[in-house]
């Protein structure tokens, strides 16, 4: 607020206290991954490299190698982000900058779908994927994930395209460009902040995605890291050290982004990305 209260340190203490569970959780994960045994948040015993054995052993308990899962996760996240940014940008550009019949209803539909809870469609999507022969394939899940996040992406990118100057686009047309050329050579470079925002959001969202691969992927060779990690949760005996290490490994990109891109993350998530 524009005027800081004189007793703001007190408020800082309040803030610290309510945030404590998050800090404790992260600390718990890190300590449990590193040490042999942890009592609450107090490490006991020695550092435990054996928690990280999944990195070196080809397979833990009959699972596929974590590197396969890592590769699948990377392909999944990268493909979803690329598809989403590309397709959403194209559609958003048309909605924002072009005349066509039913433009307003189309935009209304996008906004409605943005609010619409897509998880309620999983059952039907399962059926559709089977019909398309895309069930239990990475491609199928990539298409579903990119599609379900598409209304959000279109909405976000439309906001960025709306702010472009019309003069600039008119100039490009007079200079001899087609709309397609204008889109690639003028409009897209100018909405780079939007592309970065949507790209980061899509990457994070796809990296963490659990329900879709869980529902639509069966074969272990197509497992993502989410499925790899979840497979440990179902076991009767829980090896906390190993799981924490897998979890830390899996969440590492997120932690790095958090450490080095805090401001940026806040900007993205304040910019109308849905929760």
């Amino acid at each position: 607020m524009p005027l800081l209260p004189r007793n703001w340190p007190l408020w800082l203490v309040v803030l610290f206290l309510i945030t404590l569970p998050i800090g404790a959780g992260i600390l718990w994960l890190v300590l449990t991954a590193l040490y042999n045994q942890v009592h609450g948040l107090v490490p006991m015993g020695k550092l435990a490299p054996q928690n990280w054995r999944f990195l070196f052993e080809g397979s833990v308990g009959g699972r596929p190698s974590i590197w396969v899962a890592l590769k699948n996760s990377a392909v999944f996240a990268a493909a979803v982000a690329t598809l989403e940014v590309l397709i959403a940008s194209m559609a958003a550009y048309a909605i924002s900058r072009m005349k066509f019949p039913l433009r307003t209803p189309y935009l209304g539909m996008i906004l409605t779908l943005h609010a619409f809870p897509a998880v309620s469609l999983l059952i039907a999507i399962y059926y559709i994927l089977r019909l398309l022969g895309l069930f239990d394939t990475l491609i199928g899940v990539i298409l579903v994930k990119a599609s379900l996040d598409l209304p959000l992406g279109i909405w976000l990118m439309k906001g960025f395209f709306d702010q472009l100057s019309w003069d600039m686009e008119m100039a490009a047309l007079v200079d001899g460009a087609s709309r397609w050329t204008v889109f690639w050579r003028v409009a897209l470079p100018l909405v780079r902040p939007g592309i970065l925002a949507l790209g980061t959001f899509a990457l994070l969202s796809a990296w963490g995605e659990f329900i879709l691969p869980f529902t639509f992927i069966v074969s272990a060779k197509s497992w993502t890291l989410a499925l790899y990690m979840q497979s440990f949760m179902k076991e009767a005996f829980v090896d906390y050290g190993l799981m924490a290490a897998v979890g830390l490994f899996y969440a590492l990109p997120v932690f790095l982004l958090f450490l080095f891109g805090q401001r940026y993350l806040l900007n993205i998530y304040s910019g109308g990305v849905k929760g």
Binding site: W28, G40, R97, M98, S120, D162, F210, A226, Y250, F258
Partner: protein, 296 residues
């Protein structure tokens, strides 16, 4: 029509995916809900009319599931909005270079992979020596089994609170500074300023967050699925959306009841369509549409 070829090309891929994975599923959900499609009848499903819906309402556990759903949505929503508001206010009462890191910290639960996030909760609630809660309370129990609802609501709440936090923070930042100066000149204390200046300005954002999160909580089940999978015991924390998912896609009893699950999902789909159309009406959508200035 030729002149609209370009926009249609731009819209093509998006329209195709939306058609395939939004519109078709909406229709398919409704259609499937009128069939007896199940593992045993996968090859030859037949129309059963409203039978699934009749079964649904005849289910003796319906009451329990409805109560669970109400409890889950109501309490999580209260936590989300309340905590979001508290966080937005408190992070605004400390200097910016303190407020921002804390806001970012609250984003972590949202951006962490749900599997990792839920694992942390499970670990912290586990028996001693691992479980932090057992350690602190000095009673070694699996608190996830002892107090499943607390776990479900807090785990969802810590994810959901940041949504309100961000929306309320931007709303607070949008309040003209003169209002704060005027309040200070009038001799208002910090709490009075919050109550008389800030909160009234947040009425609309609070309504928005409540409306938005009600719908998404009603249909979301990812964290419950991972945390308790509807347990402990028989339907301990099973909510409507999770039950639909269980029936149709991962049945305990091996026979997937697709039609019945679809009927449950159809109820959510209909609610979703109606409510999101309603949002479109109240959030003044027309103001967002401007005419394009290029006609080629």
């Amino acid at each position: 029509m030729r002149r609209y070829l370009t926009p249609f090309l731009f819209l093509g891929p998006a329209s195709l995916l939306i058609l395939l994975f939004f519109f078709t599923p909406v229709v398919a959900t409704l259609l499937l809900s009128f069939t007896d499609l199940a593992t045993t009848t996968f090859r030859h499903p037949s129309w059963v009319g409203l039978a699934n819906y009749r079964d649904l309402f005849a289910d003796p556990f319906l009451k329990k599931i409805l109560a669970n759903t109400a409890r889950y949505v109501g309490l999580t929503l209260a936590f989300n909005v309340g905590m979001g508001l508290l966080l937005a206010l408190v992070t605004s009462l400390v200097p910016e270079n303190w407020g921002d890191p804390f806001r970012a910290l609250w984003l972590l639960p949202r951006i962490l992979p749900p599997v990792v996030y839920v694992f942390i909760w499970q670990g912290m609630l586990a028996e001693a020596p691992m479980g932090l809660v057992s350690d602190l309370l000095g009673v070694s129990k699996n608190w996830l089994v002892e107090t499943p609802w607390v776990a479900v609501i807090l785990a969802n709440g810590f994810v959901g609170a940041s949504f309100g936090m961000l929306i309320f923070t931007s709303a607070i930042r949008a309040i003209p500074r003169e209002l704060f100066y005027a309040a200070a000149v009038d001799g208002a204390t910090t709490l009075q300023t919050i109550r008389r200046v800030v909160i009234p300005m947040l009425a609309w954002p609070i309504l928005f967050v409540t409306a938005y999160q009600t719908l998404s909580l009603l249909t979301s089940f990812e964290y419950i699925l991972l945390l308790t999978d509807g347990g402990p015991g028989f339907y301990g924390t099973e909510v409507w959306s999770l039950h639909a998912y269980h029936l149709a896609l991962s049945n305990y009893f091996g026979n997937v009841e697709f039609g019945l699950g679809a009927a449950m999902a159809a109820v959510l789909v209909v609610i979703g369509v109606v409510v999101s159309l309603f949002y479109l009406k109240i959030f003044n959508f027309r103001a967002l549409v401007t005419e394009p200035k290029i006609e080629v």
